[in-house]
Amino acid sequence: MALHYRVYGLTLEANEPIDGLIPLSGTPASPDLRIHYRVAPLRPDDLAVVHEGELDPESQTANVIIRRSASTRVCTIDYRDGTSFVIAPGGSEVWCDWPSTSTPEDTATYLLGPVLAYVLRLRGTLALHASGIAIADRALLLAGAPRAGKSTTAAAFAKRGAEVITDDVSPLILEDPVRVLPGYPRLRLWSDSAEALVGELPRLTPNWEKRYLSVDVTDTPREIGAVAVLAGRAAATSIRQLYGHAAAITLLRYASMTHALDESMRAREFAQVTKLANRIPVFEVVAADALDRVDALCDALSALSSPA
């Protein structure tokens, strides 16, 4: 029997449980996206590489390879551990399969992160590589590179009672006001951050050091007050507002899956991000390099998303 879920503003129908998501109680009229676990469809012959991830120094293989077929517009995402995804044109269906050394939990970490981020981009939705929390009814998006501290900062806010909206993938509704769509009810944390902030947490998958913190997520888009880009660490926290082209180019850097777009998707992204930079304040944050000072960082960030 099919299971249904809501995440990133999409209604999903899946043939197997998706780890980390809570099934909907009813049956929605028509899902936006169908997920097929353990099904590997035929791949088009003309798949061409559009992105290769970081190379493993030992094996000299990329951690991920994204390919696209010019004739069918089917995309594939293949991870070094053997987990693979095939995405139908326009992001309407996803098929995935994995080797015996992986688990459905591993697959869900890919699916709920980069794979659905790419599906959103294929469907024309701009998503930022950012976690989102709510402060006084407005969202503050915490953008940044991997390991920049997005989820850790979101967890610190959650510990102070703030609502978590999404982790790592922030899909946007570019209307007036600009809103962020909610993710799934988990924050993914490295074990050292988890330990320091909230104590021992369950592993995300048996094969990975990352832990997860369960949070409550409501299925309501939230107006965005600001984007804070976590740009590095230093002895003390500093925050500066970015304006004009500096704000836009910074946001372009943190658009989800921006490295794997084709020409028409790139054109759309350019228009969407410049629109976003015209409407939402963007701040560059250099955070104090110490977990015991994360509270002071939260205090400083809390003021950013308030109405001017």
Binding site: H245, A247, A248, R266, F270, T274, N278
Partner: protein
Amino acid sequence: MKPAAGVVFKSVGDELVLLDYDRGIYYGLDAVGARLWELIAAGEPLPSVIETLLGEYDVSREEVTNDAQRLVGELRERGLLVD
């Protein structure tokens, strides 16, 4: 002189972001640079662009001329402007 094919641009406030599709590189122009680009994109030759900027900004002819020529040189060098 005109923007190269494959270069698109959008305003952010009074500044401009350029996207060079072929190379996948973004460039930013401040308010004065954005106005210069806008005039060139509208087909104005450089001397006329300089006259317009002189009328809009409180700067000397020498300064506007030098800055405009330097920026145009840089934009041509990067392949963003072509003849």
